[in-house]
C-alpha cells in the first residue's frame, strides 16, 4: 500500500512538484549561508533574516497588491539586517556567532511585535487580498504530457533558486570578486597583505547571505503559503547551515544536498498520508533528518578515502 502510493506519486510526477517546493527555501538559504561561510563570516542568523523577510514581503506585497514589491522589500530588510550584523561583528568586534543568535531571537520577537502593532493580530496574519509570487506556465511545453509537468507550473521562485545556483558558481569561481572572497575566508591576514579590503569583502558576503535568505523567507510567506505565522520558518535556516556542510561548501553540492533533503521530506509527507501505515508517525518524521545524517557520513567517508589515496 505504501509503496504503491509512492510509486503512483512518482509516476504522475506530483512527488517531483512537492520536492521542488520543499527544496527551494532550503536551497536559497543554504546558498546565502555558503557565501558568508566562504567569506569567513559565517551567518547563523539565516532563520531570523528569513522571518523578517517573510513578514515584510507579505505585509508589503498584500498592501501594495504587488508581489515583486513585496519580495524586494523582504530582501531589502534582510540585507539591511545583514549589514547591521556586519557592523556589530566586523566593526564592533562582537563574536559573529553571538550576532547571528541575536538576529534569530530578534527576528522571532520583532515579527510578532510588528504583527500586533501593524495588523492588530497575534500568532498569524493572513491578508484578505494576497499577491502571491506567480507560477510559471510555459506555453506549448505545458501541453506536452511528461515534459509539461516536469518543467511547467512551478513557482517563479523555484526557477530563481536554480538560477541562483548558477549565479553562485560564476560569482565564486569565475570572478575576481570570488577569488577575493575565497582568499579572505581562507587567510584574512594574507589577503590583507595583498591589499584586499577584508572588511569590505566580508560586509558584502553578509549582504549576499541577506539577499538569499531574504528570497527564501519571501517564498515561504508569499509563495508556499499566503500568510505569515509566527516562527513559520520552523528551523529551515538551521537546516540550511547543515546543507552547506553536506554540500561540501560548493553550490552544486548544495543543490544536491537540498535535493536529498527535499526528496526525503516529500517522501515523508506522502508516506504519512497513507491510511493505516504500519510505521509510527514519529519515525516517518525522522526520515529527512536520518537521510541527511546518513548522507553526511557517506560524503565524509568518501572524502577521507579520497585523501587517503592522495597521500
Amino acid at each position: 500500500m505504501v509503496w504503491q502510493t509512492i510509486w503512483s506519486q512518482i509516476i504522475d510526477l506530483s512527488l517531483f512538484a512537492v520536492l521542488l517546493r520543499v527544496m527551494t527555501p532550503i536551497l536559497l538559504a543554504a546558498l546565502g549561508g555558503l557565501i558568508s561561510d566562504i567569506g569567513g563570516a559565517i551567518n547563523i542568523g539565516l532563520e531570523g533574516l528569513m522571518l523578517m523577510s517573510a513578514f515584510t514581503s507579505i505585509a508589503v506585497g498584500s498592501s501594495t497588491g504587488n508581489w515583486a514589491l513585496g519580495v524586494l522589500a523582504g530582501v531589502g530588510v534582510s540585507v539591511l539586517i545583514s549589514y547591521g550584523m556586519g557592523f556589530f561583528s566586523l566593526k564592533m568586534k562582537v563574536d559573529i556567532i553571538i550576532t547571528g543568535f541575536a538576529v534569530n531571537i530578534f527576528g522571532s520577537g520583532f515579527t510578532i511585535f510588528l504583527m500586533s502593532k501593524i495588523f492588530g493580530v497575534t500568532g498569524n496574519y493572513s491578508p484578505s487580498k494576497a499577491a502571491p509570487i506567480p507560477t510559471v506556465n510555459i506555453p506549448f511545453i505545458e501541453d506536452v504530457p511528461l515534459l509539461g509537468k516536469l518543467l511547467s507550473g512551478h513557482n517563479l521562485m523555484v526557477w530563481i533558486a536554480i538560477l541562483a545556483v548558477v549565479f553562485c558558481m560564476v560569482l565564486i569561481y569565475r570572478t575576481p570578486y570570488g577569488v577575493h572572497l575565497r582568499s579572505v575566508g581562507e587567510a584574512p591576514q594574507a589577503a590583507q597583505s595583498l591589499g584586499i579590503p577584508v572588511t569590505r569583502i566580508q560586509y558584502s558576503a553578509l549582504a549576499w547571505s541577506g539577499v538569499f535568505a531574504g528570497l527564501a523567507g519571501a517564498f515561504m510567506s508569499n509563495g508556499l503559503t499566503n500568510m505569515f505565522v509566527k516562527d513559520m520558518t520552523g528551523g529551515t535556516g538551521f537546516l540550511a547551515l547543515a546543507v552547506v556542510l553536506l554540500g561540501n561548501r560548493n553550490p552544486i553540492g548544495i543543490l544536491f544536498g537540498s535535493l536529498i533533503f527535499g526528496l526525503a521530506s516529500a517522501l515523508a509527507t506522502i508516506v504519512q498520508t497513507v491510511p493505516d501505515a504500519p510505521i509510527p508517525s514519529q519515525f516517518i518524521q525522522m526520515i529527512p533528518y536520518v537521510v541527511t545524517i546518513a548522507a553526511l557520513v557517506f560524503f565524509a567517508m568518501r572524502q577521507k578515502r579520497k585523501l587517503a589515496t592522495l597521500t
Partner: protein, 371 residues
C-alpha cells in the same frame, strides 16, 4: 507595577518580598524583547481595593483575579476566558482584575504567587495544563482562596474547581460533519471517494484525543469512511501543514480536512481552499478565513464555562474540590454556526448535525475519550 510593590511592602512575609523582587527582575528582563508583560487591564469595578482578607465567598462578594499565562490577544483561548470574565462582571456584578503573565513560562509561578499572596482576591481563575502544578501548590498553601481552573483537571484539592473541555465530543461532531460532507452529493467540492483528512500538530495524547473523537464521529455516520491522518511535528510550520493537507487531498482523494495544529493548521485550511475542497477549523471560529471552504470550526466555549463557574460560585453551588468534563450537554464544546455555516452548508447536513447534537446531549451517543 509600582503600586503592586508598595502593597507587598506592607506584607509581613519577607519570603514573599523575595519572590516578588525575583519576579519583577524576570519580568523586567523579559520586557527587553516584548513590552507587554504584566500589563494589567483593570475593569472599572476593581479599582476600589476591596481588602476583605477573609476570603469567604458564601454570601460575600466575589473579587476575582484572572491570571493569563501568556498574553491576551490570541483571538482564541485566553481572550475567550476574558470574555467570560467580562460577562460575569456585567451580569453578576462581581469584581475582576486580569494580570498577563507574558511569554516567559519561568515567570508564571512567581507571578501568580505574588498576586495570590497579596490576598486582595478571593477567587483566582487560571487555566491550561502548564499551570496544573503551580495551581495545586498554591491552592494547598492558600486554602481560603478559591481557584477556578480551565482546560485540565485537578482533583482532590478542596478549594479548586476544574473543568476540562471534551475535545473528543467536539471532534465527534467534526468527524460526523466531515463524513456527511464527503458522502454528500450536493456539494461541488465533494468527490465520490469516502475519505476524510486529519492534520494534527504532534503525535501527542491531547491531539490524538481529537483524532479519536473525529474517527468515532465519522464511523457513526458511515462505517466506510476512511480517516487519513498526518502530523506536522510542531504547531507553527504552516508551509508543512499545507503540504500535508495537499498530499491528503491529491494522493488520498480526501475532500474535507480537519486541521488541529494551531497556526500550522492554517496552512492546511489554505491548501484545502486552493484545491477547492473543504476544511474544518479549530479553537476559534475560522469560518471567515476562507468562506465556503472552511465550512465550520470546532470550538471550546471557554467563555461560557468560565461564566457558568462564576455564576455557580455566586450562588454557592460550585462543586469545589472536583473536576468536570464539559461536553456538548454543558455547552463546553460545539461547532461554530455563524451566517457562513447557514449559507454554505446544505440544509440536509445541518438537520442531521442537529439530530446528532441532540443525541449526544441526551446521552444516547457516548464518545470514548482516548485520554
Amino acid at each position: 507595577m509600582i503600586k503592586g510593590e508598595s502593597i507587598i511592602m506592607n506584607m509581613k512575609k519577607l519570603s514573599t518580598l523575595g519572590v516578588m523582587f525575583l519576579s519583577i527582575a524576570l519580568i523586567l528582563a523579559a520586557c527587553g524583547t516584548k513590552n507587554n508583560e504584566s500589563k494589567s487591564s483593570e475593569s472599572p469595578a476593581a479599582s476600589s481595593t476591596a481588602s476583605n482578607g477573609s476570603g469567604a465567598t458564601s454570601g460575600g462578594e466575589i473579587n476575582a483575579l484572572y491570571y493569563v499565562n501568556s498574553t491576551l490577544g490570541d483571538k482564541s483561548f485566553f481572550d475567550s476566558a476574558q470574555a467570560g470574565m467580562d460577562r460575569a462582571v456585567k451580569e453578576l456584578g462581581i469584581k475582576s482584575k486580569t494580570v498577563e503573565g507574558g511569554a516567559n513560562s519561568a515567570d508564571w509561578a512567581s507571578g501568580l504567587e505574588a498576586v495570590v499572596a497579596s490576598k486582595k482576591y478571593n477567587v483566582v481563575v487560571v487555566g491550561t495544563s502548564q499551570m496544573i502544578d503551580v495551581t495545586k501548590d498554591l491552592a494547598e498553601r492558600y486554602p481560603d482562596i478559591k481557584f477556578i481552573f480551565f482546560d485540565d483537571l485537578i482533583e482532590g484539592v478542596p478549594n479548586v474547581y476544574s473543568m476540562l473541555y471534551s475535545q473528543s465530543e467536539g471532534s465527534f461532531l467534526a468527524g460526523a460533519f466531515a463524513a456527511l460532507v464527503t458522502t454528500n452529493t450536493e456539494l461541488k467540492g465533494a468527490n465520490p471517494d469516502k475519505v476524510v483528512g486529519f492534520v494534527g500538530g504532534m503525535d501527542i495524547p491531547i491531539i490524538n484525543d481529537f483524532k479519536s473523537g473525529y474517527e468515532q464521529g465519522a464511523a457513526y455516520v458511515d462505517k466506510d469512511v476512511k480517516v487519513v491522518t498526518s502530523y506536522v511535528g510542531d504547531f507553527v510550520n504552516a508551509p508543512k501543514g499545507k503540504e500535508l493537507g495537499l498530499a491528503q487531498i491529491d494522493s488520498q482523494k480526501a475532500d474535507i480536512v480537519f486541521g488541529v495544529a494551531s497556526a500550522a493548521g492554517l496552512g492546511t485550511l489554505e491548501g484545502a481552499n486552493e484545491r477547492g475542497v473543504y476544511s474544518i477549523g479549530v479553537d476559534a471560529n475560522q469560518n471567515p478565513l476562507y468562506p465556503g471552504s472552511v465550512l465550520t470550526s470546532m470550538l471550546k466555549n471557554v467563555d461560557q464555562s468560565v461564566f457558568r463557574a462564576l455564576e455557580l460560585l455566586a450562588k454557592g453551588e460550585l462543586p469545589l474540590g472536583s473536576g468536570e468534563v464539559l461536553g456538548i450537554k454543558e455547552g463546553g464544546v460545539g461547532l461554530a454556526k455563524d451566517d457562513l455555516y447557514e449559507k454554505n452548508v446544505p440544509q440536509s447536513i445541518r438537520d442531521k448535525m442537529k439530530e446528532i447534537e441532540d443525541k449526544l446531549a441526551k446521552g444516547e451517543i457516548t464518545v470514548k475519550s482516548s485520554l
